[in-house]
């Protein structure tokens, strides 16, 4: 019984540590965007999940005609799977459904670079990126 408890406790600790590491990775990415945002606008006070939600749902102009919105591929409900235009499944964007979302800086940089250009026809600002992640981390 003691051995079992020990194993269970160990497993729980490991899981907690893994979750903490993942959260830490996302926090570091958000912190870097916050530094960038503050540099661009000294009156920046923090990211907003609400702004992120509006950005996610909005129809943007200036991008490529087939991809006017984040929701084109990710659907309006970020806890659900999305689908690429070529028909491939995309794991949910919401962190509650895909816990390692926004924890790999290279992956985050690659997809913001591509998708901001596809959807908005420009790079996203640090505030837009931080709001986006903050929104999806709250889902």
């Amino acid at each position: 019984m003691k051995a079992f408890l020990g194993i269970a406790l160990g497993a729980a600790l490991l899981t907690a540590t893994a979750i903490a590491a993942v959260d830490h990775g996302r926090d570091a990415i958000l912190a870097a965007f916050a530094v960038e945002a503050k540099k661009a606008d000294p009156s920046f006070t923090g990211f907003s999940a609400q702004r992120g939600q509006a950005f996610f749902a909005a129809n943007h102009t200036g991008g490529k005609p087939d991809t006017p919105s984040c929701t084109t591929c990710h659907t309006r409900d970020p806890t659900q799977e999305g689908q690429t235009r070529a028909g491939k499944q995309i794991a949910p964007m919401a962190v509650s459904a895909t816990p390692d979302r926004f924890t790999d800086p290279e992956k985050v940089a690659k997809w913001f670079a591509r998708n901001c250009n596809s959807v908005l026809g420009r790079d996203c600002t640090a505030v837009e990126k931080g709001d986006f992640i903050t929104f999806l981390a709250s889902r």
Partner: protein, 161 residues
């Protein structure tokens, strides 16, 4: 209804041999063995076998990833070069590609298609497939090979298809 149930129903109602013609003729398409190709191409769509287009098509496609069928699919230069080299060296007309001529049959020398669905071999193989199969929301597009040709998604498995 899940995608798979739906497809099962589809197949049940409209029996369709999902084995590609090349498999019926004993032509094997080797699995892609380049990690960058599987990862990067496979992120958005089935990683299409290099054998299905000539080298000139892959070269043309891979220099314009910024505008890739309506999306920005840019890659870091080293990754782009790695994938291009793999696709070109395994293209239909690459010297070491087995059965490459089968995929080139009917393609004029001066044509550089960017879509496999523009290749004469593809058209021959799908001429009896109703258009509604491709526009079905579960399939979405003719480039969603896996909707009908089930395999592991990492290159077609020849006879097993």
């Amino acid at each position: 209804m899940s995608r798979y149930c739906y497809l099962l129903l589809l197949v049940a109602c409209f029996p369709l041999d999902s084995r590609p013609a090349f498999a019926e003729e004993g032509i094997v398409v080797p699995a892609i063995d380049n990690p960058a190709t599987l990862k990067e191409c496979g992120a958005c769509h089935f990683a299409f076998p290099p054998q299905m287009l000539p080298a000139r098509s892959w070269k043309k496609l891979m220099v314009n990833l910024k505008s890739h069928f309506g999306e920005d699919a840019s890659l870091p230069e080293a990754t782009r070069a790695d994938i291009t080299a793999y696709m070109v060296s395994h293209a239909a007309d690459a010297p070491t590609t087995e059965n490459g001529q089968w995929f080139l049959r009917g393609l004029p020398d001066n044509a550089t298609p960017l879509r496999i669905t523009e290749m004469p071999f593809w058209r021959r193989g799908h001429e009896e497939v109703p258009r509604s199969y491709f526009t079905n929301p579960q399939v979405k597009t003719a480039s969603n090979c896996m909707a009908c040709h089930q395999n592991n998604g990492e290159g077609t498995g020849g006879d097993e298809d």
